[in-house]
Every structure is written in structure tokens, then in C-alpha cells.
Amino acid sequence: MSLRGRTEQVAPALGAMQVLVVTCGKTYLAIPGAVVRGVVESAEAIEARIISLFGESCRVTDLAARLGLPPSPATPDARIILCGEHRAKQAWQVDRAIGLTDVDLQRITPLPPHFAGVEQSWFTGLFLFRETVALLLNPGWLLSQPMDAFIAQPQIEGAVADAPAAASEQPVAVDAPITSPPPKARKKRPARKTTTGDDAPLDVLENLVLEESTDVEDGQAPWADA
């Protein structure tokens, strides 16, 4: 199980917003970096659909399903995006995490007025991203989804009972709900630029200080696609 979290902030350039770009099917979605607390790639956690965040168990919700997008087949690229702000927290499953990027605020345009439904509250705008478009998710909507709605989702109850609580003094640590080797000592990695599996380079999660992971080799960008 990967142990990842953010313990320091790197401010994006002035007039820019840092976002984590993910995909659900063919749809590119951007999550404001300010609410991203970590990225988990554990197949066990994804299968269990439950994860411990801030010492409390948190059910994993399929973002595509919540948005009414068609389901995608499960792939090893699936990730859980941990989001939190103040007391609100959510864990969202996505098909793939592309990486962090800074978006010039002037490049973000509102959703066209033709979209006249509740979707206007799901997205705060959209912007050109690579050869396509990314939809900027409203962090308020992301964090305000009622937990009751998650109960209907399939889960492995035992995973909750086995989950060790995360240390409260580690505000962004993500721990393993399923038995995993004890984490090694934290090793701060220097901020770097790397290339994801796609053509364009991205500043991939530069502001995340990664904890040593049991399933990621040194030098590998664990949150990015190979």
C-alpha cells in the first residue's frame, strides 16, 4: 500500500491555480490542488472501497458514477484521490491520475450557458488541456457530498475493522486499511519535473512530499502513469 500525503505547500504561480488532472472514461476532470490530500493507487483499497483518512474510515466513491458518466472497466491505472479541507473529506476513485499542472486563471472559462442544469454547480469552469478540454470540479461540491449516499456502495466491511488509525498529528497521511508492512522512515524527495505517460510534460505533484512507499521504486513517479 502506498503511503502518500502532502505536508508542505508549494504556491502556484501568481494568477494561476494548481489542479490535479484525472480522467473518468474520456472525460478529463481537474481537481483544485488546494483540496487534494493524496493519491492512492492500492488495488486493495480500491477493491475494498474504503480507506482511512485522518484516522477515520472514509468510503471511496466512484467519481464517474457520481457524475452520471458511464462506468469504465477496472484497470491498474485506477487511483483514489483523497480530498479534504477543514473537517470535510472525501475519497474519489478515478480511472487515471494524469498529474498536477498550473492553470492560468485567465484560461479558465465558465461552463457554456447551454449547460443549464445542476452541472453548473459541479464545475466552476473548463480550460484547454493538451489536445482536449478539462472540466474544473467545484471543490465545494466535491467535499459536500453526503456520506449517507455512499452507504449503498459495495464494500468489504472487514476492511474498516482492520484499518489502523492514521496519526492525528499527520494531517495528510493516508494509511492502509488492509495489513501492510510498516512504513519506512519518511524521505523527502526534491521537487522535480517529470514526464507522465503522455506526450506533454507536467509538473507532477510537485507539492507533494511523498512518504516512502512499499510498492513504488525510487525515482518512479508513483502517482503518474507509467
Binding site: T27, H114, F115
Partner: protein, 157 residues
């Protein structure tokens, strides 16, 4: 002072003919007024957008421009050919929209205004019908597309 021909009891000017763009969606021929068409390009790949707005559930990108997609095929309950469809840009008051149409080049027709038969009352999308050859083709209005009769009543109110 300017006076209209009517005030002088003269013959009113003949109504202008309609310029119509005729195209097909899933094999169905339909028309829109030429001034409501912003162009036709090859269909770019659309990105689905989660949406509860009827028939509007994707965007396409053309250069720096992002257009919402109106799913006219779904409204007509047909399927557009997946092989090299075209993108018709629909001009609307709230901004342009992209409409996926069959891969046959739209044609421009001019019809006499008096030859346009009005749509029956209660018709939400179609504003009239015209004859092209032996075929009667419905004339759509983008402004009314996807609206329910209730929407239209609200707008009037």
C-alpha cells in the same frame, strides 16, 4: 417622415425568400435557416460532460474554441454514421453549439417564403416545412431546440 408602403395603400413588398441549409442526421433530412449556421467542419472528437441538461452532454474543441455539443441525433432518435461525420456549427443567441451530422455535404436552398408551411401548433423544435424535390423537409430552429412547450410558455411569460 418615412412611411411604409402599406400606409400608402401600395402593394406590400414581397416577403424575402428563405435561404435554407439542408443536411441529414441519421439519414433524416432537415433544414435550418442559413443565418443560423456558422460553418461545417469535420467532426472532432467530443469529450463527454456530465450533464442533466437534455441533449447537451459533451464539448468539442476546435483550436482555442470550445463548443457545447447538441445531440440532435438523440432528439431525432437516430444514429449518425460513425464514419467521418461532420460538425455543423449552430448559431444561437446564447452562443454557438456543435451538432454532429451525417458525412454528406449540406446544401443551400432558397425557397419562397410563401412556400414554407407553418408547423402545427405545439411543435417545439420545428418552425415549418418546405418541399425539396418530392420530399417534405422539416425546418428546425436552433433557438427552440430541446425546449419543452413549458419552457416556451415561460419565455413568453
Amino acid at each position: 417622415m418615412l412611411r411604409t408602403a402599406k400606409h400608402h395603400g401600395q402593394t406590400p413588398e414581397k416577403a424575402k425568400p428563405w435561404s435554407l441549409v439542408i443536411f441529414s442526421v441519421g439519414g433524416k433530412r432537415l433544414a435550418v435557416r442559413a443565418e443560423e449556421v456558422g460553418g461545417v467542419w469535420p467532426w472532432p472528437e467530443a469529450m463527454p460532460v456530465p450533464s442533466l441538461t437534455p441533449y447537451i452532454n459533451a464539448v468539442v474543441r476546435r483550436g482555442e474554441e470550445i463548443l457545447p455539443v447538441f445531440d440532435l441525433a438523440r432528439l431525432l432518435m437516430v444514429q449518425v454514421s460513425q464514419r467521418s461525420p461532420f460538425c455543423l456549427v449552430a448559431r444561437r443567441q446564447d452562443g454557438p453549439m456543435a451538432v454532429c451530422i451525417d458525412p454528406s455535404v449540406p446544401t443551400l436552398h432558397t425557397v419562397d417564403a410563401q412556400a414554407v408551411r407553418p408547423a402545427p401548433a405545439g411543435s417545439t423544435d420545428v418552425i415549418g416545412f418546405c418541399s425539396v424535390g418530392a420530399e417534405e423537409v422539416p425546418i428546425y430552429s436552433w433557438a427552440k431546440l430541446g425546449q419543452t412547450p413549458a419552457d416556451q410558455t415561460q419565455q413568453v411569460a
